[in-house]
Subunit: 363 residues, 2 copies
């Protein structure tokens, strides 16, 4: 194996002596066995190698073979048991071509969705139907208004599941039909994106049901269903739909600065490996906690080269308001999927939606 | 809906003004919509209610209907978007009978595995075959020695996947056959438990393959494959095998004391809802960071009443050594699945294994 065939992981170690913890990590993430008892070749080849040790910053290089077995074992190698170490954070990951070529990545990515939505240079416009408690018919009315205005993607609020107020299948059929009708009537490219917030044994079936009902994209919660389940949906040629990833249940992996994964690694690199065309995250200054630097890190990791994998759309959301659009475009540029939900409902939805589409249309 | 049909979640809020953050949470976890714009009945019924506010400790009661749709939406309600809030930690969860009865929980639990392994009062004895890099034949030799000694469960190291040194299917067949032969020859009840560290589209098929090969239990990584995928495996009557849950990738949810979920909620309550018969976690004083109080919390939540769900075996592991057995039994009592791996290999494996079985046999 060439040196280039190593998986390199950069850690920032502040939970104790970086030397000792790095020694623990390189064993923990591989053989989980007393190092001195392992055969010499395993000590040399299978256990990770510490490189570029510089104070708190440590790089460990792992044999690419350790990660064989698909995305589950790659996640396990990166952050499996080490997730239990306080004071350890992954700041970057570099994967060799032998690993990268195992992943298709985003089916559409930036270029594919620009073509799909006839948006050669402008940002994408996404929104959500809500609030929970609304009936399928009420949600469909809302979705119809948004499709008429020309939003690219009209998604379920991620928490919509199979609640008594709007059962999953009825909602998906009702809303998909209304979006299709409204988009056809108005000549827009709008698609409905249901939340695949269903049990694991129904995931593939629900995706097919949604597509057959007319949905044009899928919202997936990889923190709940698992990153590899999202990857399987994205790789499914019979579906072939754009995938948007929601950050539900993933927050604890990023919000403590001394522990977890850097924001870009999780919401950029890992989401792309798992096939997300669009990666939602809470924008700075919204109702969550991400900083401008963390949001830039996500943008960078969504867009920067990663083997032959397509770039993904960063999608800042979470309490976005209409008057911040200019600032968001200055910050992210045009390769961004704007996600504006509740704020559209303050005043008249149709008026607000039309104004936003007009604002973005010719960028 | 009666007051008893609410889901109550206890939070400790230290990331800002508890009043303001509780107001944000009760909306964030339900309607994700400007509260003042929601219809009155949705404000009253669908949005959570703040109860028992006492300084940093806040309870929010949610309509049970919000969690309809299975374990994915229950997880989403408990810790979906709130996982993105620094300074918020869930300290307890109380589920109404209407929710609990939707979950089968552990198929075997404490009583079922006591019967399965002819262990009416003693702790269970579990171990792992390792290190990664070993061939299927080498792992089978090790497993045979452990089955001869009479370990109840002989599991794959969780990181064993489909690596070049031991491909998944060959390893499972080879080790399962050896454990079956050794247990039959020695008259022990030992079972082999492969790690279902495979891609999501192969999970069910791999479980069936393992059972057909003679495996007697399954190791599942819910942090990677998703809690509901584990639940589906546990609920599968055609499999009907005991399930052990591994904490891989879950650590960031617990290790920061001011953020995440309390250890017992994650490794006790949620693991039982998701069907784990045995819940592995890092023991205090091992190579990880859990405190004695955190380990007691896990034990308590594994064993305490939870509707009609069976109790699960707490399984402290992670660098356990032979000389700590007495201390572990004093601490956990006999309802514990001891997990001792690498330390058995210091000296002669057969001798160490026999000594450990003898130590535990008549407890």
């Amino acid at each position: 194996m060439s040196k280039d065939d190593r998986i390199e992981v950069d850690y920032r170690i502040t939970g104790g002596d970086p030397d000792q913890i790095a020694e623990a990590i390189r064993v923990e993430q591989t053989i989980e066995f007393p190092f001195d008892l392992a055969p010499t070749w395993i000590q040399q080849e299978v256990v990770g190698h510490v490189r570029n040790h510089n104070g708190e910053s440590v790089t460990i290089a792992y044999h690419a073979g350790v990660a064989e077995g698909g995305l589950p074992q790659l996640l396990n190698l990166l952050w499996g048991n080490v997730s239990l170490f306080p004071g350890v954070r992954i700041t970057d990951v570099r994967l060799p071509e032998s690993i990268l070529q195992q992943f298709r990545g985003p089916r559409y990515g930036i270029a594919g969705l620009r073509a799909r939505f006839d948006a050669p240079t402008r940002p994408l416009l996404c929104t959500a139907i809500k609030p929970m408690g609304s009936t399928p018919s009420e949600l469909a009315d809302m979705a119809g208004t948004l499709a008429h205005a020309g939003f690219d993607i009209i998604k379920d609020d991620h928490g919509l599941a199979d609640q008594p107020w709007a059962a999953w299948a009825e909602r998906v059929e009702t809303v998909a039909a209304r979006v299709t009708d409204a988009a056809t009537a108005a000549g827009t490219n709008s698609v409905y994106m249901p939340s695949l917030n269903v049990t694991s044994d129904r995931l593939a079936e629900a995706a097919t049901f949604a597509k057959d009902a007319g949905a044009g994209a899928l919202l997936v919660l990889p923190g709940i269903c698992g990153f590899d389940a999202m990857r399987a949906l994205a790789d499914n040629d019979d579906l072939g739909l754009p995938i948007m990833a929601h950050p539900s249940l993933l927050g604890s992996n990023v919000v403590t600065p001394t522990q977890g994964l850097d924001h870009g690694v999780l919401f950029g690199t890992l989401m792309r490996l798992a096939g997300a065309d669009i990666s939602i995250f809470p924008n700075y200054g919204g109702r969550f906690s991400f900083s401008t630097a963390e949001c830039l890190d996500i943008k960078e990791k969504c867009l920067s080269p990663l083997g032959s994998l397509a770039a993904a759309w960063p999608s800042p959301g979470g309490g976005m308001t209409l008057d911040r659009i200019g600032e968001l475009l200055d910050f992210y540029g045009n390769d961004v999927a704007l996600l504006i939900g509740g704020a559209l409902h303050r005043g008249d939805l149709a008026t607000n939606a039309a104004a936003l589409v007009e604002r973005v249309r010719n960028l």
